[in-house]
């Protein structure tokens, strides 16, 4: 009986895992560009999904167009967060900046409650609702879409960071911002770019996950935290780590929920988070940093 369920757990784990991986990647981009933990990451996820809901249901736009508009809109919100409150903060202390993102996250959440109400929203999955059965696992076409799109995005990001001049500039600035400035790279623009990218990644994750789990104004916090847990698991700041950590977290959570108790499903991610901080704080792919005096 138990053996028969394993493929199912695995499939659902991979599906949610790719969502976490996208969110974790968003944290990672901002961490590398600015050294900040962006608490509003989860709200980007929620906003993307909610905009998609409005654009498809209220404005009746076709899916692909609505998808593009909502992703772009969240990217703009990401840039606005960076160009507005973060850049104009009088105090450059990391704690202050991090707390500003907490404030932004709460504000976005409060505003979304006013705009979209307290109910949860949903839109139909891509590719219909009839599952494909494979090795005892019922696979929804949406799951395949999620996997496919996530893989595409990861591939594109890889090409961007390793094959384009702009992408290489981002990596250079992440490694040594001061050195990058001296070489004529505008770090400020790259930071804005990082916020735009992580906004778009968040929105993408939100749009992909909504047909499976639905979305409400307060779901961003939990998704964001799980993405963060994934990023820590993989090694904070490492892009490969973020992807692997996100996927691994999804699988662990799915098995944990299936084998132990689904009531504590949400707690599992945080227990893993605390455990990894305890045992190996640099994560699976991270390396300990050396501080120069």
């Amino acid at each position: 009986m138990f053996w028969l369920l394993i493929p199912q757990f695995f499939v659902s784990g991979i599906t949610t895992g790719s969502i976490y991986a996208l969110i974790a990647l968003g944290y990672c981009l901002i961490q590398n560009a600015t050294g900040l933990v962006n608490f509003a990451q989860g709200e980007f996820v929620m906003l993307g999904a909610m905009m998609m809901v409005s654009l498809t249901h209220v404005a009746q736009l076709p899916m692909p167009l609505a998808f593009l508009i909502s992703t772009a809109a969240v990217a703009v919100i990401g840039v606005a967060l960076e160009q507005g409150p973060l850049r104009h903060s009088r105090n450059r202390d990391i704690l202050t900046l991090v707390m500003i993102t907490v404030g932004a996250s709460i504000s976005i959440r409060g505003a979304s409650m006013l705009v979209w109400g307290k109910n949860s929203h949903i839109f139909p999955p891509l590719g219909g609702e009839s599952p494909i059965v494979l090795f005892n696992a019922a696979i929804m076409p949406q799951s395949l879409w999620i996997l496919g799109i996530s893989l595409c995005v990861l591939g594109l990001l890889y090409l961007f960071f390793h094959r384009t001049l702009l992408g290489k500039a981002v990596r250079a600035a992440a490694d040594n911002p001061f050195g990058a400035v001296l070489l004529g790279i505008s770090v400020r623009r790259l930071v804005a770019l990082a916020f735009a990218l992580s906004g778009a990644l968040g929105a993408l994750a939100g749009i992909l996950v909504t047909p499976i789990t639905s979305m409400s104004y307060d779901a961003g916090l939990m998704l964001g935290l799980k993405g963060f847990a994934g990023a820590i698991l993989g090694g904070y700041g490492s892009t490969v780590g973020a992807v692997v950590g996100g996927l691994l977290l999804g699988i662990l959570e799915s098995f944990g929920a299936g084998l132990i108790s689904s009531a504590y499903k949400d707690a599992i991610a945080f227990i893993i988070l605390l455990a990894i901080l305890f045992v190996r704080p640099s994560g699976l792919f991270g390396s300990a940093r050396v501080k120069r005096l």
Binding site: V37, R90, I94, M99, I100, S107, G110, L273, L277, L293
Partner: protein, 624 residues
């Protein structure tokens, strides 16, 4: 008055607050207002703990609602379901919360960065899930009813008014204790850790332990508030302790000014009354809190209250007299031959004016031929592909100056970092006399008697010159947290003694006139001297100096070198990393030359100067 047991320095303000709190209910008939004031005191108690945490670690917790909730639920379960007497339930709740917070603090506070924020946030979510899911124990989402009220014998705190006096008394007591803690040796160490953790460790302050203690204390404050809350409202439900309450608490802290205890109280007052003003716009709560939090942080990150104070009152009204006034009154005492090192420099100071009277240690008597004090054996360390140090050995004897030289990137600072415990070598030994220093943390090594100055001067800019010295004297005190919170007479005497010693040492460096000035007013020379003096407060047997004369004028470096040679006469062994060869060749007893992580030469300055490998390393090889 402030020298007395338990009485904080701001006792006038506390007295005023106590009178306000005591008389406020007399004119009030409205019970609802009493309820708000009681909630206010509970919030203020948690905020107090949060400020203590920020003050010492520079990190904030977005999970204090969980500790508040744990305090409430644990004592409710013990006191109601298990029928324990109140003190038992209280002890159960507090001890368990302390243990849980310790478990949370140990992994997260070891890390650099803002992991604590995320870990506490996640913890808050786990705890809320537990409250909701563990129905047989907690009653689940529908809540936990029938909690007994607080009582002392037959006297039950049955009305809002009775509870009001109780909770405000608790708060005021906690407030006094925390103010006392801040105004003590430990409070100073907390602030030092917050501003510059590494420098604090190099001065022997056990920063990790103090951070953990601050976190556990702040969780205990929250649990205490939760305990009082549960036994006041008699019904609790998980909704009260969710993440939004944590955010509210943090907003109170931010509005009042992070780390400021009085500000925290004011912020709590403002934000506890805010929902009452917004009563008809309940949907706007969340947005309003978010915008306030963000707005205050962007536009006045030091908090609204300090800004308000500085606008409202001229500086003379505030607690301390202005620094300039103090400084002038200090210097008017006059009479000393030279009131600052630079003046001393100008007047061509005589040898006799330079002396370190404070160093009367047993090892005095200059250089001895006994076995080396500090020994490094075959120390090896690589960073990835880069071999920073390859099997380097060296010895430093009592009263000996060993110069460590070499081109940039030779591994000099790395070697100092290994001795002071900031880096762990992959192979080799570091011995102080016969004791191995490997595996000890930086603060333990500092306390063993290895002082250190840094390549770029590490000062505490929020502190005055004297307070900077006092950070160095931390290791000479030993009174604990309880004594500090209560301002026990012994602790006060110790503090006075440390101040006296610090002033004496400052006097030896001719900086006593500037004792109460902020360190920014000091010249680079004075800052370097202060850093050296501060390291001497450790009563070091070995002093590691990283480019002490870098950036100084030749005549200034002359003075500094004279101090260094003076230290040698007092028997302190010195490891000197320096690029200025004139200085090295003049003062060093022995020179160790590093290149690319290898020790390429060692010997007296003369020998090293003629060593062909050293010449090659510095000047290159002549092509023939």
């Amino acid at each position: 008055m402030s020298r007395l047991f338990f009485v904080p320095k701001d006792w006038r303000a506390i007295l005023l607050l106590a009178i306000c709190v005591g008389t406020l209910p007399l004119g009030l008939e409205n019970d609802y207002f009493m309820l708000i004031l009681n909630v206010l005191a509970l919030n203020a108690l948690v905020v107090l703990g949060l400020n203590l945490l920020i003050g010492s670690t520079g990190q904030v917790s977005i999970g204090h609602a969980a500790f508040y909730g744990l305090g409430a639920y644990l004592s409710a379960i013990a006191g109601t379901s298990w029928q324990w007497p109140l003190p038992g339930a209280f002890a159960f709740a507090i001890i368990l919360v302390a243990a849980v917070s310790l478990l949370l603090a140990l992994p997260t506070l070891r890390l650099e960065g803002n992991y604590l924020v995320m870990a506490t946030l996640g913890f808050n979510i786990i705890v809320t899930i537990l409250f909701n899911q563990m129905e047989p124990l907690t009653g689940g989402p529908s809540g936990f009813p029938g909690i007994p009220r607080l009582s002392l014998g037959s006297f039950v705190l049955s009305t809002d008014r009775r509870f009001y006096y109780f909770i405000w008394a608790v708060f005021l007591a906690a407030f006094c204790l925390t103010l006392n803690l801040n105004d003590s040796r430990l409070g100073r160490a907390f602030k030092a850790i917050h501003e510059n953790d590494l420098a604090a460790q190099a001065l022997g302050i056990p920063s990790f332990r103090y951070k953990v203690v601050a976190f556990v204390l702040s969780a205990v404050y929250a649990a205490l508030a939760g305990f009082c809350y549960a036994h006041y409202v008699t019904f609790i439900s998980p909704k009260t302790f969710d993440i939004f309450y944590s955010v509210q608490l943090v907003t109170m802290v931010v509005v009042g000014g992070m780390g400021s205890l009085w500000g925290g109280l004011a912020g709590t007052v403002l934000l506890t009354f805010l929902p009452e003003l917004l009563r008809h716009f309940e949907d706007f709560y969340v947005l309003t809190y978010g915008l306030i939090l963000m707005g205050v942080l962007v536009f006045c990150p030091q908090g609204l209250v300090p800004v308000f104070l500085s606008v409202r009152w001229p500086s003379t009204w505030r607690k301390r007299p202005s620094l300039a006034a103090r400084a002038s009154s200090d210097s008017s005492r006059g009479g000393e031959p030279a009131s600052s090192p630079s003046q001393a420099l100008g007047s061509g100071m005589s040898e006799s004016a330079l002396s370190l009277r404070c160093l009367k240690d047993p090892h005095a008597g200059g250089r001895s031929d006994a076995a080396a004090l500090l020994r490094l054996r075959k120390v090896t360390l690589g960073f990835g592909g880069l071999q920073a140090l390859q099997s380097v050995s060296m010895e430093v004897g009592q009263g000996e100056i060993v110069a460590l030289i070499g081109p940039n990137g030779a591994g000099k600072t790395t070697l100092l970092n290994i001795i002071s415990g900031l880096l762990k070598p992959q192979h080799g030994e570091v011995l102080l006399e016969e004791k191995s220093l490997l595996g000890l943390s930086p603060h333990e090594i500092a306390a063993c008697g290895i002082g250190r100055t840094f390549q770029s001067v590490q000062m505490y800019h929020q502190f005055s010159v004297l307070e900077n010295m006092l950070v160095g004297f931390h290791v000479q005190g030993d009174s604990g947290f309880l004594a500090a919170c209560l301002h026990m007479p012994g602790e006060r005497r110790e503090e006075a003694l440390l101040r006296e010693r610090a002033s004496d040492l400052l006097q030896d460096f001719h900086m006593d006139a500037k004792a109460h000035q902020p360190v920014q007013h000091l010249s680079l020379l004075e800052q370097k001297l202060l850093e050296m003096a501060r390291a001497l407060a450790l009563r070091p047997r070995i002093l590691l100096m990283d480019e002490p004369v870098g950036g100084l004028h030749p005549r200034e470096s002359e003075l500094l070198v004279r101090y260094i040679t003076l230290l040698r006469q007092h028997g302190i062994g010195i490891v000197l990393v320096e690029h200025d060869m004139n200085v090295v060749m003049r003062v060093a007893d022995r020179v160790v030359v590093l290149q690319h992580g290898f020790r390429i030469a060692t010997g007296t300055p003369k020998e090293v100067q003629q060593d062909p490998r050293v010449i090659a390393a510095y000047l290159g090889v002549k092509r023939s």
